[in-house]
Each structure stands twice: as structure tokens, then as C-alpha cells.
């Protein structure tokens, strides 16, 4: 076992000034360049990127994938099995399942990704501030987090969404979900920062005269972000499902907008007889989540200084 240990010892004839030298500017670029070098060697990164690109093309150019109108739903075509006209069959309302899955990509991905980005960014900022500065700021921010955790999701959703009652925009859903999306990352980030800031290398960096800002963003953040990334990638899938819950409660997107979440919510009525109507949007959702989990893993491993040996 001991044979596995590598040794990081400078050559004996290295000049001492060289050993003690700090390349403060260089280290910054080095962090991300190093990460990039690691990430492009990771096959998971490439697989997930390709899948995300394919999904992205469905979202941006649905015309490439289908020419069927997902909102053309003659009731006489209700619940048809797969055929050449409808390669994945039809829904209870007689809509083409394939066209709906393709057209649902855009709002679903937008909701999942945007909510995750907004929630994670706010959460990371607040969590880092609370964990790093501690004291009164920590108390205030932590109690704020407590308050937001305590607000029932449904109540806030009803209240917020009635402000945008007449709008069918996906932003109202993203906004509503974001109200809660930052809370989890904030708590996770705070705990990770609390733990990281006690570690020797931070003490070392402080004693070497690094500023608070510098410490926070270049030393603590990369070392503490790992748990947030692990959960954020799952969150993308969870938020797409959350839109389904909102639709279920009559608060989601209007029936004019096709989304995986809505189709999953609608599929429950015919789950017993036509489970395939549930299967397809769920499958796309699962593949999307999987790709982002892989991508997140690759980024996390590349960013984590501890994994860089």
C-alpha cells in the first residue's frame, strides 16, 4: 500500500528562492486551465455533452426532429398505439406523443437549467458569505434561510402565480421555483465553507497575506463547491418534475405550452391502460438528468483540487 504514495519533493539542487516563490497570478489561470485539461480526458464528459447537445437541438430547432403539430389533438385519435403515423402513439387527447416529447424539450430544459442556475448562484453566494464571515451575518442569513424553508411551497406558488395569472410564460414557473431553489444550496454551501475555512491551507493562505475576497473565491469556493454540484445536477431533473406538480395543482404552464412535466401529470389518468404515454416524457427526463449528473461529476472531479494528483 505504501508503494502507491507519490513523493512531491523538489530536486536537491533546486534554488531555495524558487521553492518559496509564489506565482499568484499564474495560479488563477492555472486552476481553470488545469481543470479543462482534466475534463477533456474524461469520456463521461464527452458522452454527456453529446446528449445535451442533441437535447439542445430539440429545444432550439424542434423542426429538425418533427413537423407534426403537438397541439393538434383530434379526440377521435385518442390513445392510439404506435404506428407509422404516430411512431410513439397518441395521448388521451389524441396528440402525437413523439411531437410532444420533442416540443416539450424547450420549456422543460429551460425550467430545469435556469432554475438550477439561478438557485445555485444565489445559494452559493449566500451560503459562502454566511459560512465565511460567521457571526451576526451568519445568524441573519441562516435565519433567513430558515424562514424560506418554512414557507409552504404550494402557498407561495399560489400567491406568486396569481400575480402572473394571465401569462403563459415559462419565466413565471422559473421564478416561482427559484424562490425556493436557492435555500438548499445555501445551507450546503455554508456547511462546506465552515469546514473548509478551518483547513490548514486556508490558514496558510491567510498567514501569507491573502485577502478575504481572494480567499473566498480562489481557495474556499473551489474546495467547498463539490456537494452543491452533486445536488444541483439532480436538481435539474427534480425541477422539471416540480413543474409537473405545479401543472397538477393548476399552477403550471397553460395547456398551450407543451412540456414533459405537463405530459407526465396528464399521463396519470391513463397510466393503467396506456403506460407508454408516461414512459416517453419520463424517459427523456431521465436521460436529461443522467447527462447532467455525468457532466456535473466530470466538472466536480476536475475542479476539486484534492482529486488533482
Amino acid at each position: 500500500m505504501a508503494s502507491n504514495i507519490e513523493h512531491f519533493v523538489a530536486d536537491y539542487d533546486t534554488d531555495l528562492s524558487q521553492v518559496d516563490e509564489f506565482h499568484t497570478e499564474k495560479e488563477v489561470t492555472g486552476l481553470f486551465r488545469e481543470a479543462l485539461a482534466i475534463i477533456i480526458k474524461n469520456p463521461l464528459f464527452w458522452i454527456s455533452s453529446v446528449i445535451i447537445l442533441i437535447l439542445g437541438s430539440m429545444a432550439l430547432f424542434p423542426g429538425l426532429w418533427t413537423s407534426t403539430d403537438p397541439l393538434y389533438c383530434p379526440i377521435g385519435d385518442s390513445n392510439l398505439p404506435a404506428s407509422s403515423a404516430h411512431i410513439l402513439g397518441t395521448t388521451l387527447q389524441g396528440c402525437d406523443v413523439y411531437a410532444r416529447v420533442i416540443d416539450g424539450a424547450k420549456p422543460s430544459l429551460a425550467i430545469g437549467i435556469m432554475t438550477t442556475i439561478i438557485g445555485t448562484a444565489i445559494g452559493v453566494l449566500i451560503g459562502t458569505l454566511a459560512g465565511f464571515f460567521g457571526g451576526v451575518l451568519d445568524s441573519i442569513l441562516s435565519r433567513l434561510i430558515d424562514i424560506f424553508y418554512a414557507i409552504p411551497f404550494i402557498l407561495a406558488a399560489v400567491a406568486v402565480l396569481q400575480l402572473f395569472e394571465s401569462s403563459d410564460s415559462i419565466w413565471k414557473v422559473i421564478f416561482t421555483l427559484s424562490i425556493f431553489a436557492w435555500v438548499g444550496p445555501a445551507r450546503l454551501m455554508r456547511s462546506a465553507v465552515l469546514s473548509v475555512k478551518q483547513q490548514e491551507f486556508i490558514t496558510a493562505s491567510v498567514s501569507l497575506g491573502a485577502t478575504n475576497k481572494r480567499n473566498m473565491f480562489f481557495h474556499i469556493l473551489p474546495n467547498a463547491i463539490s456537494p452543491v454540484i452533486s445536488t444541483a445536477t439532480i436538481n435539474i431533473g427534480a425541477f422539471i418534475v416540480a413543474e409537473s406538480t405545479l401543472s397538477f395543482l393548476g399552477l403550471g404552464l397553460g395547456s398551450n405550452t407543451v412540456s414533459w412535466g405537463q405530459d407526465i401529470a396528464n399521463a396519470r389518468d391513463i397510466l393503467v391502460t396506456t403506460p407508454s404515454v408516461l414512459l416517453w416524457p419520463s424517459l427523456f427526463l431521465a436521460v436529461t438528468t443522467l447527462s447532467f449528473i455525468f457532466l456535473g461529476d466530470a466538472i466536480r472531479e476536475a475542479l476539486d483540487p484534492k482529486g488533482r494528483r
Binding site: 500500500m1 505504501a2 504514495i5 464571515f133 451576526v136 451568519d138 445568524s139 441562516s142 435565519r143 430558515d146 424562514i147 424553508y149 418554512a150 414557507i151 409552504p152 411551497f153 404550494i154 402557498l155 407561495a156 399560489v158 400567491a159 396569481q162 438548499g184 445551507r187 450546503l188 455554508r190 456547511s191 462546506a192 465552515l194 469546514s195 478551518q198 483547513q199 463539490s226 456537494p227 454540484i229 452533486s230 445536488t231 445536477t233 439532480i234 431533473g237 427534480a238 418534475v241 409537473s244 406538480t245 407526465i264 396519470r268 397510466l271 419520463s282 424517459l283 427526463l285 431521465a286 438528468t289 443522467l290 449528473i293 461529476d297 466536480r300 476539486d304 484534492k306 482529486g307 494528483r309
Partner: protein, 310 residues
């Protein structure tokens, strides 16, 4: 540490006041007239509705309604529901049921989530890891209402090894399936979180040091890696307790569990402000206590974390 805990408990006061005010404002802002809705298709005279509005202070301005609630809460009188039941009675019956469900779910999160998380974290790139990942995905991608019903049918109706619903049989046997379903999504998070933490820490210097000292693998993982990996996991589970207590609406409906989630949902739908705020007050207290325990655990797990001085 005692001073820190005392300070934290003191901090709950502004949190509760802030939260209840916010919730009251949200309920007040909700559309619809709860009193008119009570009468459905048979609207009574205006005078009759005025009697009810007066009884529940609904004819007063928002701030007065809130003060009525605060005053009542201080004297441990949370008021009555539209049905005429004491709010404290509603909480007293539904809280223990939800607590049982939530703690059982947390137990599964720890047992399954942390357990599997360690295994897949230690064994890098194995088939087992991918299998767990796929199972995780299935659980995330299938909504609770579908998963719940499939399990209900398979184990309850088909195999008849577990009861289909809970109803008034609130015990471990009846709660088993709903708790597992409720824990499902959170378990996925805990597995991912534990796994990434264990992986990160397996590469840390102190692990190399420990190994260099000649410690065996098991001791290294259990004594060193785990202890350092658990912080975010505990944070997540602590926060999840609050979410499980108030947010199990769908699971409660599928398995007919008369818990806080259902009470909260129906109170919101009916516009019963007092009941909503009282339930949230209870939830926020539970939540604050859970987080306090988590914060204390930080210091226990990582002695370098110190509270009370900044």
C-alpha cells in the same frame, strides 16, 4: 457551546414572527372568498356571511388579523377552524402521524442513502455504481404519485404483504411503504452527496497519511473518510426533515395518511389563514431545532469548527 445554543434558541423568536407575518400576508393575498365558498351553490344572505366573517376576524384589516393571531399564540390559543375544531387539536392529531412518517423516512435516508453512498464512493467505477445511479434516476424521473401507486398495487393488492393504506392504523407496519416512497427522492440525493464526498476525501492528504501509518482500509474509511464526508450529508438530511414534515402532500394522499401535509394543503385551498399560520409555526420550530442539532453536530464532527467567536 451552551451560550451558542441559548443564543440560537433566542433567535427563533424573530424567525417565528417574520415567518408568521409573511405567511399571513400570503394567505391574505390569496384570491377568492373563503366564506362565500363555504356555501357552494346555495349563497345565504349577506348578513349570515357577515356573522362568520366577524367570528373569524375576516372583516378586519390584515394587520389586525395578524395581531389577533399573535395575541392568541402568546396565550396558547390558536383559534378555531371553519369547522369549529380547535386548531391545537388539529395539530395534536396530525403532528405525531407526520412525525412518525418523517422520522421513518429519515431513518431510511441514513440507512440506505449513506450506506450505499459509501459503498459506491469507495468502489470507483464499478458496475454496482452504475446500477445505483440508474436506480436513482428511475426514482427521480417517476413522480411520487406513480411510484406510490405502483408499489401500493404490487405489495398491497397483488402480493398482499403490506397494507395498501394507513388510515387510522398509525404504526410501523402500515407506515413502512409510505416512508420508503417518501424517502425515495431524498435517498437519491444522499447517495450522490455521500458518494462525491467520500471520493473527494479518499484523495485527501490525511487519508494518505493514515494509510502510510499502516491503517487498514476499513479503519481509514470508517474513522477518517466518513467523519470528514458527513458534514454536507448531515446538512442535507437536517434540512430535509423540515421538507418531509410539511411537504408530503402527495405521499399522504396516496396512502391516506392524515398528516400535516394534507392539513396544510386543504387549509390553503379553503383559505383558512389561522390554521395555515399555526401549522407553519409548528413546522418552523421543528425546522429550527433540526438545524440547531445539525449545527451542533458540525462542531462534534469537526472539532476545528467553533461557534460563539467570530
Amino acid at each position: 457551546m451552551a451560550r451558542y445554543i441559548g443564543l440560537r434558541i433566542l433567535q427563533t423568536i424573530p424567525v417565528i414572527i417574520g415567518t408568521t407575518f409573511l405567511i399571513y400576508a400570503l394567505v391574505f393575498a390569496m384570491p377568492g372568498d373563503p366564506v362565500r365558498a363555504m356555501f357552494g351553490n346555495h349563497p345565504p344572505s349577506e348578513a349570515a356571511m357577515a356573522v362568520i366573517r366577524h367570528e373569524f376576524h375576516l372583516d378586519e384589516p390584515f394587520i389586525m388579523q395578524y395581531l389577533h393571531f399573535l395575541y392568541g399564540a402568546l396565550t396558547f390559543d390558536f383559534g378555531k377552524t371553519f369547522q369549529g375544531r380547535a386548531v391545537s387539536d388539529v395539530i395534536a392529531t396530525s403532528l405525531p402521524i407526520t412525525a412518525q412518517l418523517a422520522f421513518l423516512a429519515i431513518f431510511f435516508e441514513i440507512l440506505i442513502g449513506v450506506g450505499l453512498g459509501i459503498i459506491v464512493g469507495v468502489k470507483k467505477g464499478k458496475i454496482f455504481d452504475n446500477f445505483i445511479l440508474m436506480s436513482t434516476l428511475v426514482i427521480i424521473s417517476i413522480p411520487t404519485f406513480v411510484l406510490g401507486f405502483v408499489c401500493q398495487f404490487l405489495f398491497g393488492v397483488k402480493m398482499r404483504i403490506l397494507p395498501t393504506t394507513v388510515g387510522n392504523y398509525v404504526d410501523l407496519y402500515h407506515m413502512l411503504m409510505p416512508a420508503l416512497i417518501l424517502a425515495g427522492v431524498s435517498v437519491s440525493y444522499v447517495i450522490r452527496l455521500t458518494r462525491s464526498q467520500v471520493r473527494d476525501n479518499m484523495n485527501a492528504d490525511y487519508v494518505r497519511t493514515a494509510r502510510a501509518k499502516g491503517l487498514d482500509n476499513k479503519t481509514v474509511i470508517l474513522k477518517h473518510v466518513l467523519r470528514n464526508s458527513l458534514l454536507p450529508v448531515i446538512t442535507y438530511i437536517g434540512a430535509d426533515l423540515g421538507a418531509l414534515m410539511g411537504g408530503a402532500v402527495v405521499t399522504e394522499a396516496v396512502f391516506n395518511i392524515n398528516g400535516i401535509g394534507h392539513q396544510l394543503y386543504s387549509a390553503i385551498a379553503k383559505g383558512e389563514g389561522t390554521l395555515v399560520v399555526s401549522l407553519v409555526t409548528v413546522l418552523v420550530m421543528i425546522y429550527i431545532i433540526a438545524n440547531l442539532i445539525v449545527d451542533v453536530l458540525y462542531a462534534v464532527l469537526d472539532p476545528r469548527i467553533r461557534y460563539g467567536k467570530s
